[in-house]
Each structure stands twice: as structure tokens, then as C-alpha cells.
Symmetry: C2
Subunit: 623 residues, 2 copies
Amino acid sequence: MAKKYIVTFMPVNRSTVVEEGTTILEAARKADVFIKNLCGGQGVCGQCRVQISSGRVEVDEKTKAFFSKEELEKGYVLACQAKVYDNIEVIIPPETRLEEARILTGEEISARIEINPIVKKIFLEMPEPTSEDNISDIERVERELRKKTGWHGYDISLECLRNMPKVLRESNFKATVSIGKHRTGYKILNIEPKDTTKIHYGIAVDIGTTTIVAQLVEMNTGRIMGVVGSPNPQASYGEDVISRIIYACDKDGLGELHSLVVKSINQLIEELISEKGISKNDIIALVAAGNTTMSHLFLGLMPCSIRLDPYVPVADIYPQIHAKDIGIEINPEAVIEVLPSVASYVGGDIVAGVLACGISERPQITCLIDIGTNGEIVIGNNEWLVCCSASAGPAFEGGGTRCGMRATKGAINELQISEGKVIYKTIGKAKPRGLCGSGLIDCIYELVKNKIIRPDGKFNRDLKDERFSIVEDIPQYMLVPAEESETKEPIVITETDIDNLMKSKGAVFAAMKSLVDYIGISFDQIEKLYVAGGFGNYLNIEKAIGIGLLPDIPRDRIEFVGNSSLTGARLCLLSEKALEKAFIISRAMTNIELSVYPPFMDEFVAALFLPHTNRDLFPSVKY
Amino acid sequence: MAKKYIVTFMPVNRSTVVEEGTTILEAARKADVFIKNLCGGQGVCGQCRVQISSGRVEVDEKTKAFFSKEELEKGYVLACQAKVYDNIEVIIPPETRLEEARILTGEEISARIEINPIVKKIFLEMPEPTSEDNISDIERVERELRKKTGWHGYDISLECLRNMPKVLRESNFKATVSIGKHRTGYKILNIEPKDTTKIHYGIAVDIGTTTIVAQLVEMNTGRIMGVVGSPNPQASYGEDVISRIIYACDKDGLGELHSLVVKSINQLIEELISEKGISKNDIIALVAAGNTTMSHLFLGLMPCSIRLDPYVPVADIYPQIHAKDIGIEINPEAVIEVLPSVASYVGGDIVAGVLACGISERPQITCLIDIGTNGEIVIGNNEWLVCCSASAGPAFEGGGTRCGMRATKGAINELQISEGKVIYKTIGKAKPRGLCGSGLIDCIYELVKNKIIRPDGKFNRDLKDERFSIVEDIPQYMLVPAEESETKEPIVITETDIDNLMKSKGAVFAAMKSLVDYIGISFDQIEKLYVAGGFGNYLNIEKAIGIGLLPDIPRDRIEFVGNSSLTGARLCLLSEKALEKAFIISRAMTNIELSVYPPFMDEFVAALFLPHTNRDLFPSVKY
């Protein structure tokens, strides 16, 4: 029998007993102690930093790169990579603690929701047929299912029925069925010999206009097996949804855009499973969240009317389909759910976000800002939900700027300028390759704070700084010299980049201000503000307020929650109830169409300033 | 405006007013007068004979072939082909009257059931989207559907959703949707511009082991647009289900047998629509009835365990599928229902028969004998249903005998032997090509009655009859000389043929006798006996009893109902309620497995005699 050890978590002083070799993260879950962890225990996000104050743990050498020499000496480790071989005491530093209200972005999801996935695997041990009991194979399977689940009246896929006699007889009538939930009942999707209930995977996908992110999820436990992302290849037909709609409708490009997103998701799935030795056939469900246009293109629905007054989508609630219907390369009978949209410009991604943040479950007025290529904003509580969207452009996802990039390895995600020096951190501590959204926000803030640019976003032309130059009439500022960068090209920010970022942040803030005014509340009345978006795992909230992207409210009310669309999609994969909630949320949300809301344009113009033309809105910002 | 005339039906003395050009059959339906009609108003079955006693009608010249000179002089016409151009009085002769209890085999079905087809077409006139009403296309369609039907929560096919925006905008939001009923709700299958509710077709198919028959049905009225049949091409892999199962399972032939039946049904559909200018896309539902093995092969399900003790089929209730799933060439989204089986050797065909005969709706003890390659027998009433089956071989469908043929044009379906002369009638009054089931029954009866063969089925070798000869050791009797036949070959019946027919009739009678004994009733207690089978439109009941195929009960209790499997399939096409009833019937039937019921074999041996070894069972048969 494996040895057992006591793990005590401080400062909460909660203990649990675990077998040797258990990770500290797993021990924490067992002890009901929540530790930040965005990558799902992969040892890549560096969020689950804890300090071992006594006892011995084993750590993966590679993870030492996440810590400074001093930290390593103090006993810092990544909780997900450190294994227990002793009675130990763990100190959870403040930055690693997961507040109760915090969004469920990591493995801890399994500790918080009741896992009841939309496709379930059930092992059936059936009596073999006899003369006295010679009901048909399907009846035998359904009889055993009824005993186990109490449900009646299953549907079944023809393919599964075709496989059934062989599987049952090869396995002496001991087989595992996969049961999918659809709108009006349950369907038997797949049958396999023996007990394969442990081999049970699903995919959550966030189909962003600029970036597609996919997660491989173990369906019994909710464990995230891996997360990968790639640029949306449709971007070569236009950065924003409007140009893609035009390509689909005026250039007969729907088929191509549809194929591109399907192909891209297939590649991500391949990437997710290739290292883990998981078969595509063992993935039996996929939940996708995206804005309305992305959802249409994913399903091959004509998005034309989305961009034409009165902005009508083909569908807001999408039919459940099967993987084979659109060529997603997982189990052909796998269930695919696309999360419901609210309106042409408020999609399933924001519905997923509202679900992930639990906005509709609490009486407190809560706001969610999801900053992607479109900025979407929801304000509400358990009684009402109002939302709007504004085109933010791809700047915060690393598009539309000279040295912008996605939040992946080598992206600068933190930056400070002090006395002409630029201090920065990169994701994965790699050589810098560019700036991701959070790095760009820091950069603008630092530029204006250091008076390198003026509040209108233009460079101070009189600047005496060797990092400043004007190249082909465009002023620019060098953040990283060529010799320091991965590409051996300097990393710079140009006045054009800043202009794009000003428009992006202006659109988001103006949308939020318009929505608050429309509802008739003040920013102060927002009790919780969640910020979601493709910023990687980091956002400096102080600096985001400093540039006027977020409203100037008490900092402890604001929380960065990462990719809430993906989290919501995963929730729906893991819980029938969550999926039902998503439908209810989509029906409950009132959409304010900003394009026909006259004050919006004035708010937008007023927001094209750092932090804002009306300084009274940002009393705490000093520069 | 068209002129109107009064049509009065005698002897019932019921009148109705119709527009000029209406057929007498249509007028009869309007007047709630039921006229026999097996071909659905095609003018080919010759059943709807009526006499015009006053007034002028127009008739198709061709239909005069159905009548003698005297009959024509008396004013006989086919009701389905005679058009009203005057006030007329019609006498319905006794043989043409459709008794109330008679099975619904023809057009009159639409007058008897409430038509509520399993796929409905509904025309929707929707308001065009505005800023105030900019719900999605699918929501707009569903909103209008809810208003029209009261149903909620539609499913929709992805393909239909993909077509929806174009169709709606091309038709100014006036479109017709096809709505299919499935187990747990309704699904939108198809959308078309404008009002196409009048163009609405379905297919009923009887998949027999020897013969496949398909009917094209107009779904709004239940009108039969055409009936066609063809030999089941699987027959080249074996005449009975057992040899087909062996081919499927031991020779890896499932795919081939599946393709053959699908291809054959596609050809029949092509034949049905080619003349009528109907598009395949306008056929939106298909209901198939067949024995359990045929149903398995149609869906591509492995039938292996059907023939192995304890005789377990893969499925008895089959999932609803769509045409595209198995390559049936009608609307790809069309609903396909396969009627449920009871057991491995009691299939959906007999369930359909019970439904068509209304056995489960009356307190009287009723029996249905369906004589195909398998003979299936059901006895029951509204409280219980017991059934069994026995392999009858293909003899009654024209297989397994030298000059046997299906009941189509040129088949001898009535035959009499008198003083060395053979008097016969053929289907369509064509030159004889062979004998169909009813002709063979008549033939055996006449041979034994005229002492040409003995009660053991062997020819009387001393026979002095120029029609008798022994060719290659096999005694045979010439029914039609070469010069009279279509093929210029003589039509004969051999001792081997008679032997096969004896086995067939013996198996059917033995099964029925076993079932009656098992239940513990006598033949006398059967208040109604329906005989179904591929005998064309004619069966001489007296002679069927005379050879010991049917029990010797009062003749007025026996009724020949034609292809009751096809009729049941059509009922399910036309009525959601009928389809539900089919499921209930399939669950309510108790199957007696004759192969493990010891008395059956003794009964079979005893029945290999004309009419039977035990003459007491046939007191009224005199020869």
C-alpha cells in the first residue's frame, strides 16, 4: 500500500491526508483549498506558486524557470508539479489564493460544479440472451440502461445500432455505451466492448474572430488535459466579422470560411491528443462558443443578414449536430453544441462568459467585459441582464499593431518604463518576440505616464530619447533592441499602433459608459467587474484603468478572469445543467444595439483620449 | 364557374352535388358511399364496377376491356374512370360494395382515417424583419409555427437551416416548411419558397422476401398515385430469409444485400414518379414494413443472431432515420420509419397487417393470415394478440414453381378445369405468361377435384388426358398450350410444383392449427378471418379451403384483403396515431416460437394431404 502523508495549507490551516506522489494541487482540491491555476495542471501557466515551509517534495527541474534564485531558496514550487513524499506544510501566497467568487478557470472547476457531462459513458453488464429472455439487442441495452439511469425512450444512432450485435457478442454482453443529451431526450451514440468509462474526453472551443482556443477535457473529472490555440485562419479574409461576412456573401466564400474554421479546430484537436495517446474516437462531445458570425461560419450558415439593418442572424439557438455532419474529426457520432447567441452582435461567447462568472445567479450588480476583436459588455444580476457590443478591432489580441502577437511564449505581457529603461516580462520567460494585449496596455500606460506620448496618443515630437525615431514619417518607440529579441528585429510601438489601441479602448469604454447610462446606474453601483479576453494569464488592472479602458472603480471589485468564453464552453461540456442555463441566459439577455443608440458615437469620441476627455471620470488616475 | 350535377347512388339512395368532370369514385367518397377499389383509382384493378342507370358520363375507351358486351350495354363503367357530365343515377352492384368492416385497401382510406401525416407541410406567411422585430430567421419561423400548431421546441436539420435565409428572402418571408414527427417531438426537415403545401408526397413500401411493392401516396388526401412492384433482387442469394442471413453473416454479404434492397426501392420510386412529373425532392416521408430480416437488411443491421437459438434480432423498434442516411433517393432529409417487429420471425409486415385490419380495436376474435414467403398468423382482439410464423416458401408468390409468377399482367389468377378443358382468366386480360398464387391455388384444387392428382399430391399415372405427360421423369399437366401463351412456351404444372405447394399450404395450415390449439380455441370461435398476401387482387376462398390452406369455417367470415402490410405502411404514413398504434401492437403481441413448439411438426405432416389427413377438419369439402 502506498504511504500516506499529511499536507497542511497555511494560512488557512486546513489539512488533508494523501498518498505519496500526489501533487500539491490535487491535495489542495482534496482539502477544499483553492489555488489559482489557469493551465489545468500542465505546469505552463506558472499561476499555482506555493511555498513549502516544511517537509520534502519532488519537483520537475523544468519548473524552476518560473522562480528567481531567492524564491527557489525560500522553497517556492508550482503546486501542480510538486509531489508529496513527506508530511508537509504549504504556504499559499496571496497572489495564488483563489477567492471564492473567482471565476472557475482551471482544474478547480471539478471541485465546484456537479459533473454531469452532456455525454455520459455507462458500463452495462447484461445477462446473455436465453430462450426465456430473447429480447432484441437494443432492448437488452435499454433495459439495463433503464435500471441504471431510470430514463426511458432512448434514441439511437444507426451506426451505433449497426455495431451493437458484434460488440455485445465479442464482450459477452459487457459493454460501455455513450449517451448524449439532446433537446428532448437521450440518444445512444456509441457502444464499445468492456468497461471503457475511464476513457472519456470532450473538447471545449472558443472560436474567436482572431484566435481559436481549444481545450481537451477529461469528462469524468473535469480535468483539463491540455489547452492550445491558433490564429483564426479566416483572418486572411478580413480582420473583423464584417469583412468575413462580405467575403462569405458577396464572394461566395461561405464554404471556404466554414472549411477553414473546421480544419483549424481539427488541427488543434490533433495537437491536443497527439502527445497523450488519446484516440479521436474517444472524444465524444464538443462545445463551441463564439460570436454570432463565428458560430454561423462554423456551422456553414449564411451570415449575410447579420450585417444588414435590421441585423438578423439565421439562428440564435443552434441545433445539436454530430461531428460527422460538419467533418470535425472526433468520434463521428459525437455531439456538437454551439452555445446560443443573443443577437447578431452578442454571441455564445458572451453567454458562456455570463455563465462562467455566475452573473445570473447573484443579486449583486455585476459587469463582464469581454475584450476580443469585438468588445462585449454585460451588466446584470439574477433578475436582469443587459448587454451590448462594439467593434474593438484585433489590437488587444495582438492584431493590427506592428509588433503585436497572441499571448503565447515569448510575448511581452508585463512592461514598465523607468528613466529611459524598458523592463519587461515575457510568457514562458522566453526571448521576447512581440507584445500581447496586456503588454500593449502596460506599454501605452507607461508611454503616457512617462510623457513620451501625449494624452491624445501622439508622440511628443520634442522627445529626447534614443529609443524614439521617425521611420518613413511614422513616429515609433523602440521597446526591445534587435539584439535582445528572438527574431533579431527590434520590437517597437508606432503612432499608428497607438492610434489603433486608442480606438479599441475607446470603443470598449464608450460601450460600457453607454450601457451604464442606458440602464440608469453609475459605475459605482457595479459591485463586481470581471474582465475577460485573450490577454493570456495576466492583466494589470491599474494600468488598464490608467489608459481609460476600464472604469475607475475600487480595484478590489475588478478581477481578470482570462478566457471566460472557453470556461463557459467547458462548463457546458461537463454539466447538462450548465448547458440549460446557457439557453436561459441567452433568452434572458436584453441587447442594446449601439449602432442605433445615438449617444454612443459621442461617448466614443470622448474616449479617444488618455485616460478620457472627461478627467472627472478617472479621479484616481494621476499622470 | 364549372357546372354542377347531382349524383345519386343506389341502392343506398344517397346523393351528392359535384362539379362537372368529377369521377364517380370521387363523388362516392363525397357521398360517404364506399366502393371497392384496389388500385387507387388508376383504372387497372377493375374492382370499382358500377352501373349507370340514368344520365351521361364520359369514359376512357380503354376501360371498356373490363366488361362484356352485355355489361357495356347495361351501362357498366369503372367508377374511377367515368366522369360526370349530367345528373346521374349509379347502381352499385353487390360485388363492388365495400362493407364497413372491410379492410382499407384503396383510396377510401382517406375517407376512413383522420389524415395527419407523419410529415406535414405548413405554409407560413411571416412579417418581414424590422428594427423592432429582429429575431433570428429560425425564431421567426418557429414563432409562426407555434401560432399555427401550438407546438413548441422544434428541432431542425442543419441543411434546412442552411437553406433558410435564402428561401425566406427570396419569397418575402412566405414559405412552406415540412415538419416531421419523431419519437420525442417535431423536426423542421425542409423549407421551400411560397405555398407548396399541395405538393406533398410519401412512399409506402412492403419489403417482402420475394417481392417489393411500393406505393406513391399524396399525403394531404391519402390518395394512392401509383403502385409498383418488383422481385426482391436479394433472391439471387437465396429464396428464404435463412439463406440471406447466411450470405450476410458467413459470406460478408450484408453490404451487398443492403445495397440491393435500397437500389430496388430507388428504382420503384423512379418508376412511380417518372410519369407523374413529381420531383424526388417532394417526397418527404417513407414508411417500410417487412419481416424482421428484411427490415434488418434494409437498415444494414447484422441479422446473424436471428437464425441462431435463442433467435435474437438486433432491434425490434427501429430508429427513425433520414433518407440520406441509407441513400434512399427522395428528399435527403425525408423521414424513414421502419415498422416495429415483434420477434425474429414476426416482423413489421404483420404488425402493419394487424393495424390495417383493425384487429386490436374490436372485441371479436379475429385472425389474420399473411401468406408470403413466410406465413404469419395473428389471432386476437382488443385485449390480446398471439402470433406465430412458419416458413411457407415462395410458392404462393410465384417462386419455386416452373410456371409461377408474380401477380402482374398476364398472370393466370383464376382457373377452372372442366371435362378436360382449362378455362382461365389473366390479370389485365393479357395473354397468359404464368400462374400467380391465386391461380396456383385454383389449379391444385381443380386437379384434385378432377382426380388428375390424388389427395397426396401425386399425379394419377393411369390418367388418360392428352394434357398429361412425363418429361424427364417428372409428371406434368399442361394448362395452356404453347400457341396460346405470351411466351410461346406451354404453361404447365409439375409434380414437383405441386409438392412445393403442398409444403407451403401445409406449413401455413399447421401453423394456424398449432396457434388455435395453443390459445385453446376452436376454428369456429374465429369470428373474422382476414387473408393477406401477394395474390394480386383475387383469391378464391372456396378453393383455398378446398386444398386445406384455410380452415373450413363459414365463408362469410373470410375476407381476402390483399397486401395488408402495404396498407398498414400507408396508414402509418398518413397518420401519426396509426404509427403510434403500430408500436403499441408490436409490444402487445405474444409470439409463439413454433420451432420449439413440439406439436407443430406433427401438424405439418398431417397437413401434407388434400385437404388434410384428418377429413373431419374439412366437413364441407366434397371431392
